[in-house]
Symmetry: C2
Subunit: 252 residues, 2 copies
Amino acid sequence: MKKTRLSPEAVKAKQAFESMKTACSNCNLRELCLPIGLADDELKKLDQLVSTRKRLKRGDHLYRAGQAFESIFAVRSGFFKTDVLIEDGRDQVTGFQMPGELLGLDGISNELHTCNAIALEDSEVCAIPFSQLEGLSRQIHTLQNHFHKVMSREIVRDHGVMMLLGTMRAEERLAAFLLNLSHRFKARGYSPIEFNLRMSRDEIGSYLGLKLETVSRAFSRFQDEGLLSVHQRKVCLLDPDGLHQLISHQRC
Amino acid sequence: MKKTRLSPEAVKAKQAFESMKTACSNCNLRELCLPIGLADDELKKLDQLVSTRKRLKRGDHLYRAGQAFESIFAVRSGFFKTDVLIEDGRDQVTGFQMPGELLGLDGISNELHTCNAIALEDSEVCAIPFSQLEGLSRQIHTLQNHFHKVMSREIVRDHGVMMLLGTMRAEERLAAFLLNLSHRFKARGYSPIEFNLRMSRDEIGSYLGLKLETVSRAFSRFQDEGLLSVHQRKVCLLDPDGLHQLISHQRC
DNA sequence: CGCGCTGTTGAAACTTGTCAAAGTTTGTGG
DNA sequence: CCACAAACTTTGACAAGTTTCAACAGCGCG
């Protein structure tokens, strides 16, 4: 998880600083999160809006389906999953969110959250009151446009998942999933080839439309073929190109 | 160019043309489409923005993946599908759009369309230049909020499809699909129990993550069980509750 | 009328799910 | 700090569901 080694003093100072106050202008995720492309004075305004930060322990719900929607959330640290449950017991993980990504966009439509957001490890989020965000985005074109792009990107992402669920077989799905995680870790400065999965086989399976046993078997097979090594939740991609070929390979 | 008196016929034609002119304020879809909840004067402003209407024949592309994104489109009449193709030949239908629904939201993210939109029958759409829409929604709160809700609803819809693809078996998927169509036809004043499918078995299959043969078999099975009658693309839902039970039925 | 496209149906092959058992890790409380 | 329980993971054997391949039927169009 650690990126760079810091002296004990530096760690302490950093913690103290972070505990001080939420501020997009100081956040090292600002190039990944909502503030992309904002000028300094605009960032200041956004800072005023993003006033509350919230800590969650592993397993805590950030929100639940059916709750009133008021804010969207930006993941500041940690890892989340969102899922939808239906009465008969079925559930579908609709996404995994990492730092710099937004949670809660689905709640805008009916002013109710439509899914559950659960922390997969101890995490921290910034709450962004939605009506205030709309107000500010009427003033700041860049923010408005960026927010629209974020929502649109979510739609595009969902189409990718539909493609995955609709056309790929088990091993292709898992390969696509791992490469996607890899890219996202890389964009955040972490190793793209070695990382810890924060979610269980069951959660991966739910996201990929597979049973946990199938996920487990696919991992074992990849390991046998030398594409990766996996020990519990620690994964090391030994042959990312090989994984990529698996996906783009003609079916049949 | 000198101004000339128009012949009576030309005047008549011109009037006819102008009455044809796109105007949200006159559109009988205005309670389903972007204008929901706008006051009369606000509707006028939206009218100015939605100036171009476009006709398409069955099979025509409204846009293609990779093209520059400039406008979103509202379906005024007809029927569309959107799909994503990847190199190796796989394709996934990501949605079917009927009158009052918007097309092109996925293009906002990168200012490029990310999927293809194809008319499944002769159709008409209203083009809404996106940058102008952003401009107007900075002035009209209701429009801004409504647009956000439309995008959010698309995300929620996609989650529903993910649930369908991830957790349902073939017959459940088809039942869910048919009931969804039924609701949407009903909302538009058409019969919710008797309608024509505008899409082929193959297109349904692509949307539902099934092969066309599986779709065909599921239709036959439903017919055998008296849940519906189907002749080619004409469907009559004989027992909508039965179809509904199929979906919410505990799996196994 | 025949051709092409779309849809239906059957049988076999394949993929994934189900059930069961055992191994591993993690967390908790003594 | 260890021991035990709970949760998670792996693996095997078998069952079920879906796809594949193939043949044929129905409809619309030139």
